[in-house]
Amino acid sequence: MKLRVLLLGVLLAVASTSCVKEKSSEVQHEAAPSELLAQKLMGCATIEHKRGSMLLYLDEATTTRALGGDMDDVVATLFNGVEIIAMEPILTHKPKNEKLAHELGLHRWFSVTFSSEMDVDDVMKHAVVHPEVCGVQYCAGVKPASNCIATPYTPNASMTRSEDAAFDDVYYTSQWNLENRGDKSIAKTAREGADVSVRDAWRLTAGTPDVIVAVIDAPVMYTHPDLKDAMWTNNAELNGTEGVDDDRNGYVDDIYGYNFYHEGWSNGMINWEVEGESGHGTHVAGIVGAVNNNGIGVSSVAGGSGKGDGVRIMSCQIFEGGLSTDNAGISRAFIYAADNGACIAQCSYGYDAKTYAHDNAYINDAPVEYRAIKYFTDPENCNHPSLGANLAIFAAGNEYASNSDYPGALPLCVSVTSFGPDFLPGWYTNYGRGCNIAAPGGDNLKNAKGEMAYAEILSTCIPDVVGEYAYMSGTSMACPHVSGVAALGISYAGMLGKKYTGNEFRDMLLTSVTDINSYLNGSKEYGYNNIPTLDLSKYYKRMGTGAVDAWRLLMQIEGTPSVMVTTGVQTVVDLREYFGASAADLTYLDITVSDEAKEILGINSTPKMKDGMLAIKCNKRGAAKITVSAIAGGGQLGGGNNMGGTEICREVSIISRGVSSTNGGWF
């Protein structure tokens, strides 16, 4: 009797980890396979998907069997009559944070490969009739956020090298994205200051090697003269035996990263010598961390000062020969990056802006990738002592759509729009909902001589593809500027011994901006290449919080001064120091004043925000903090059935005293 009760208890426990919660498993064999497919398909049936593969989400018990040595039996049961080439867990390697991976359900996902001549739906229908199959998903690929058309570097005959260039890299003067002097040899409409404001930041730091940026993209050419000393290096593998997993992290020969494109996982070697390779990943990597001050090539945002002190680049290859791996491969890239020390995932890719209308649509369609991004950004997996959580930074996309691509549009990611050397949107850039911040990405603008390439972004590239250095444009190029600035910020925080939660750092990043909204009026005309005239009013307040500003970020890390108000007087104070130069254009959500702060400052009525200004009346002298929250990117928050901006919160220090001047001066 006791044994029967015990067995019943065990069965009930097993049932609790079955698919009941995800999809109803009752009477599955009585429903038609097509009905079951409709029930269990996790995602959009109309998305363009890869042939010859699918993803499978199993219940806990079957997962345990499959991973415990019964994979062949599970395959035979689920796909009876179908020739399956391979079924592998998404987690081909044991993750460092196995507990978190299991909590996210990543261990229950499997990729299944079969002949590309088979209909994917037909294969799925074989599986979905089994109750232990909780879900199935198509394998979709992604695309880089650039047209990947590179123009080889040629000297700009109109340009003279600046005598006071920050670094001795020979092409520094051509890099308006780092320091824009309004040089008309770049573009007729070049505007001084349309850059990332990094020159002064470099006096404080140009990056530190403890900051690792995972470039989840096409391969990074790790032998490039301007990148080879900037690569993250797995020394155990470098000094180990070829073909052996020397450091036992589950990956063989992952010296500078890993190649997640290959099917079958037999070869993870980073590979750029494939027809169709564009150099996209190498170009992106160079923007983040090409070695500075080495007398050759280009400079970069966080490539150090010439003493080998720049941030490090980890190549997580998800494109090969221009083709993309699928959700499974992309997911593995994020897990690898988290497990091997990256604190920034630099992701110049996404799904077309028309694909998903809101967060839930993406999450339902790409559950593995979404959970892998959550694994990367979870505070438990943070990889830098100054950060509470790793950052995932994405390109907004190039469909000139009024919303960001996903995954960038997710609130847990940062989505980057693009501007040219004129501080105006690139004609291609997505904008609006889901977009958080802007950065230089280049544009098709002509200089005074009618030459066009110089307004794009110059960076490292692959010699056999287009040349050692080349110009490219896109939000793909804008994104690594934000990754580089974030890397500088993390470096500086580390130098100062400061520590932030993931949200605090992200909020500082998104409020470290120069205003560009003041330029967004009128129109931007090209008059060539069929590029449409831009109505700039469409972009007003829709490029994110502003143009990323490296100097401001480092100043925020040093500390933001208090704002002064006059005791007993309703005072209006400017919060641009806290919310960036575009503070007046943000949508503010809330002002939180603790009971303690109310008591200290004698606040009897809730302060108000209007146009970036805080109206507050303190009836007592003293100092305390209040919290102000706003939306980074648009007028509504994203999440659930919304696509929108990210909530940012800043703690504002208030000093209430008997006198204050309108410019913040002490007297």
């Binding site: 200051g193 002064d200 006096r203 120069t514 205003d515 100097w551 401001r552 100043m555 040093e558 500390g559 933001t560 001064p561 208090s562 704002v563 002064m564 006059t566 005791t567 007993g568 641009r576 120091e577 130069a581 002298r621 003293g622 100092a623 220090s653 000093i655 005293r657 008997g658 006198v659 204050s660 001047s661 309108t662 410019n663 913040g664 001066g665 002490w666 007297f667």
Partner: protein
Amino acid sequence: MRRLIYAMVALAIVGLAAGCNKNKEDEGPKGDNRDMRLVGSWHCTAEEFSTEVYVAFTEDGAFDLYQRLGEGRYRFYDGTWQYDGTTLTGTYSDATAWGDSYTVAYLDDNTMTLTTTLTEETMTYTREEIPAEVIQESITLRSETDSCDVRFL
């Protein structure tokens, strides 16, 4: 003889008057914007506000102000000051007037207080040279462009 005595007394009176006038010149004549005792560099620590202030008043009526309100770098302001013998006022170089005027009182040669006229808030300043690192690492907020100039000297 009487005329001589009267003349000597008159001279003595004139001499005394001249002496008093000399004392007043030491304090700075009324209507003049210079209080020579004010001239120099001063430091104020306002602990209740976690604030540090350095200010240098020059003879020609200019001031340089370095303030750190809580966190971050010192912020630099400059402008002009005026003193009518009773009240100290000033204007920043961006044409913003000081938030209030101040009564100056000297506790000794190296210590003064500035008290706001309207609210009678008193802060104590001690004579001290502005540290080089405060000057070198300060920044100027340019309100018209909302950017910061780095003062790397």
